[in-house]
Amino acid sequence: MSLAEPAALPVAAAVPPRLHIVTRFTTRFKASLPAYLLLLPSLVFLALFTYGAMGRVLIDALYQRATPKAPLRFVGLDNITAVLADPAFTGAVINNLIYAIGTAVPSIGLALLFALALARTNVVTSALRAALFLPVLIPMVAASALFLFIFLPNVGLLDYYIGRLLPVVPNWLGDPDIALYAIMIITIWKNAGYYMLFFLAGLQSVPEDVMEAAHLDGAGPFTRFRHIILPELKPTFLFVTVIAILNAVTQVDHVFVMTKGGPSNATNLVLFYIYQQAVEHYDIGKASAATLLTLAALMALTALSFRTMANREGGA
C-alpha cells in the first residue's frame, strides 16, 4: 500500500477523467504487483482449501434430490428453509447458545483469576502456570476418552468420590438434563489454561508507573483492579471472548467421542448436526445449508468484533 499511494496521486491530478481511471489502475497494479506475488502462495492455498470448499458448499446448498433415485435439481433456498424448520437444528442452536455462554463465562472468569494469582514470575507460579496449561496440551479426543471413564456411572472416578455424598448417583452422560453440563465441564477444564495465557500477556501491558502512582495515592488492591487493570485488559477480554465463542462452535470432538449428540439430542451442537446431516442422513444439500448458516453467523460475529477492536484503537 505504501508503495502504491505516492505513485497514484500525481497521475490523478494531471490526466483527464477517462484515461485517468485506466492509468491509475495500471500504475497501481504495477506498483502493488510485488505485494500480490508475495501473497500468491497463501492465496493459492486459501483458494484451494478454504474458498474453494466454501464455494462448493454454496453450490451444494442450492441442490437437492426429491427421491433417492431422482437426479439433483436446483431448489434455491429450499434447503435453508428446511434446515430452519428442522426442530433438531433449532435444538442444536439452543444447545450451542447454552454451551457457548456456559463455557465462555466460567472459563474466562477462571482464566482471569489464574492470571491475576500467577502474574508474578517465580518458581512456584511457573510450576502452577505449567500445571494449569497442561489440559491445553492434551488432545480433545484423548481428554474425552479419559472423561468417558471419569463419568462412568457407579464405577467412574467421579462417582467413586462424589457418589458417596449424593443420595442418587447421577448418570452423567446418560441423562438428557445433565449431559450437556457434563460436556461443558470438560471444555472449561480444557480452555481455562489457554485463556490464562492471554490474560498473563495482557497483564504485562498494564503500565507499572500508573500502578505505582495509584499505590502512592492510596488506592487499595480492589480499586487498582477495578480502575486500572480491568480497563487495560479490555482488548484482551474482547479477543478471548471471540476465541471462546468460536471454540464453542468449532470444537465438537468430545461430542463425537462421548455422546454422539445424545441422549435424545441433549448434547447435539450445530457442527455435529451438520455432520449428522452429511453422514447419517447423507443429505449434502441440508448439510451445506446448515454450514452456510453457521458460517454466516461466525463471520458476522468476527466482523463485529474486529470493528469493535478497530473502533477502540481509533477512537478510545
Binding site: 482449501f49 433415485k69 462412568l152 446418560g174 438428557p176 438434563d177 457442527l271 447419517e280 454450514t291 458460517l295
Partner: protein, 443 residues
C-alpha cells in the same frame, strides 16, 4: 465448511498415500487392491488383520492387497462414500451388515452375481456355505451384494459367583422375561434407597440401543422392520410396546436396572467390576469378558417373552460400485479367501466374533477351541433362532428416531406408548421419499 475442508484434506492425504503405494507396484505388475477395514470392538483387531493380509499376499503373487484401517463402522461408511465420490473407490470394504441396503439404494455397491457365475457356481450354492440367518443382510432383491465376514448376536452374561451367593443356580440361567426379572430383583443390592449393585444392565447408546430394542422386540414376537422392503418400520406395535414397557419397568418400577442411557463400554465395565450382576451384550465382547473377568461367568440365550429370536450384527465384505474389472476380480479372490472355512475360523478365534462359514466349525482347530471354551458355543447355538439386522432406507436416522425416544423413556421423561408413537411418526417422515419412489409410486 469445516467438514468439507477436513474431508478434502483427508482425500488429499489418502490420494498421496495411494499414489505412493501405486508407484512401485506398476513396475512389478501385480494387481493393486485396497481393503478398507474398521475396528468396531476393543482389542488387537488391526494387528490380526495385518497378519491375515500378509498371508494372502504371500500366497497370491499376482495380487498385492493393502489393508487400510478406517476407524469405526460409521467412519468406514463415510470414507468409502468419499472415495466413491472422488472416483477412487477401494476394491473391497468390510462394511457393517446393515448399511448394505442403504448403499444399494444409493447405487454404491457392485452386484456380485456375475462374479459368482464366473466361478461356475450358483447363488444358492455360494450362499449355502453361510449360516441362513446371515443371508438376509447380504441379499437384496434376490442378488448377492455382500459376503458375511464376521458376525455376532446379543447374549445374556451372568456373574455366576454373585448368582450363587443370591441362591440362584447359574447352570439354569433365566429363560423367560419373568425369570429374568426375578433374577434381577434377587441380584440387586441396596443400602437404603441407594443401589450398590444392579441386577441387570442393557446398553443404550446410538447404534447399540436400536440393536437391543430389536432384540427385545424379537423375543416378544415382533419384527422391528420389514425384512423384504426398506420403506417400513414397525415401532408403534404391541410387540415393541411390550418390549419397551418391560425395559422401562426394569428401570422405573422394579428399579433393578440403572436409570438413563448407558453406552456399551460402561455396561461391560460395570459387569467386569461386579457392579452389575447380569448384562445383555454382543458376542463380540466375549473375548474381552473372558480375559478380564476375575469371577466365574456364564453366558446364555437372550430370554424370551413370546419366542426365542435375536438379530445378527457384524459386517460383510463388499465391492463398491465403480471398481475396474481387474481389481474387481482380485478383490473377489481376496473376499473368497477371507471367508473360506480356515481363515474364517482363525479370524473368529482371534476376535470373538463367530465365523459365518458353517464349515469353519468342522475344522480341527475350531473343534479344539470350542471344547476349551464352551461359552463360545452358546453364541453359535443361538444362531438357529437368529434373524437379519434391521436395514432400511437411511438406516441410521430411522434407527435414531427410535433411540432418542427410548432414551427419554429410560430417563423416566416419557411413557412408552407416546414415545413409540413419536418415533413412528419421525421414522415415517424420513422414509417418505423412498416410499414415494417405490410403494406409493402408482401407475
Amino acid at each position: 465448511m469445516l467438514f468439507s475442508r477436513r474431508l478434502m484434506l483427508g482425500l488429499a492425504i489418502a490420494g498421496t498415500f495411494a499414489s505412493a503405494i501405486a508407484v512401485p507396484a506398476m513396475a512389478e505388475g501385480p494387481t493393486e487392491i485396497d481393503l478398507f477395514f474398521p475396528v468396531p470392538v476393543d482389542g488387537k483387531l488391526a494387528r490380526d488383520m495385518g497378519t491375515l493380509i500378509k498371508e494372502f499376499n504371500d500366497g497370491h503373487p499376482d495380487i498385492k492387497a493393502t489393508a487400510v484401517y478406517t476407524g469405526s463402522y460409521d467412519d468406514t461408511l463415510i470414507k468409502t462414500r468419499a472415495s466413491i465420490k472422488a472416483g477412487k473407490p477401494p476394491s473391497a470394504v468390510i462394511m457393517s451388515a446393515n448399511f448394505l441396503l442403504d448403499m444399494q439404494i444409493e447405487n454404491e455397491l457392485t452386484n456380485l452375481d456375475s462374479l459368482i457365475a464366473a466361478d461356475g457356481s450358483t447363488k444358492d450354492k455360494f450362499l449355502g456355505q453361510f449360516f441362513p440367518a446371515l443371508q438376509g443382510n447380504a441379499v437384496i432383491d434376490r442378488s448377492v451384494y455382500g459376503v458375511p465376514f464376521h458376525n455376532s448376536t446379543p447374549l445374556l452374561y451372568i456373574n455366576a459367583d454373585q448368582a450363587k451367593e443370591a441362591g440362584l443356580d447359574p447352570n439354569k440361567p433365566p429363560q423367560t422375561w419373568a425369570e429374568l426379572t426375578d433374577w434381577a430383583k434377587k441380584l440387586t443390592k441396596r443400602e437404603g434407597d441407594k443401589v450398590t449393585r444392579w441386577g441387570i444392565a442393557i446398553p443404550c447408546a446410538y447404534d447399540y440401543c436400536g440393536w437391543m430394542m430389536e432384540t427385545l422386540t424379537m423375543t416378544n414376537g415382533g419384527r422391528y422392520y420389514n425384512e423384504e422392503f426398506g420403506g417400513e418400520v414397525y415401532y408403534d406395535t404391541p410387540s415393541m410396546l411390550g418390549a419397551l414397557t418391560w425395559w422401562s419397568d426394569l428401570v422405573n418400577k422394579h428399579k433393578v436396572h440403572a436409570p438413563g442411557a448407558t453406552p456399551g463400554p460402561a455396561v461391560s465395565t460395570s459387569f467386569i467390576s461386579g457392579n452389575a450382576a447380569m448384562m445383555m451384550l454382543s458376542t463380540g465382547s466375549l473375548t474381552y469378558v473372558r480375559e478380564n473377568a476375575k469371577f466365574n461367568y456364564k453366558v446364555a440365550f437372550i430370554p424370551r417373552n413370546v419366542r426365542n429370536a435375536v438379530p445378527i450384527g457384524g459386517a460383510s465384505l463388499i465391492i463398491p460400485a465403480g471398481v475396474e474389472a481387474d481389481k474387481q476380480k482380485a478383490a473377489w479372490t481376496l473376499i473368497k479367501w477371507m471367508t473360506s472355512p480356515e481363515k474364517s475360523a482363525w479370524w473368529s478365534r482371534a476376535t470373538g466374533y463367530f465365523a459365518p462359514n458353517m464349515a469353519a466349525y468342522k475344522t480341527p482347530d475350531m473343534v479344539d477351541f470350542l471344547n476349551k471354551n464352551p461359552d463360545a458355543k452358546t453364541a453359535v447355538e443361538q444362531l438357529d433362532v437368529a434373524k437379519p439386522w434391521f436395514a432400511t432406507y437411511k438406516t441410521v436416522p430411522v434407527r435414531k428416531t427410535l433411540e432418542d425416544e427410548v432414551m427419554l423413556v429410560l430417563n423416566g421423561k416419557k411413557q412408552p406408548k407416546e414415545a413409540l408413537v413419536a418415533a413412528q411418526k419421525a421414522a415415517d417422515e424420513t422414509l417418505k421419499p423412498y416410499n414415494a419412489e417405490t410403494s406409493l409410486k402408482l401407475p
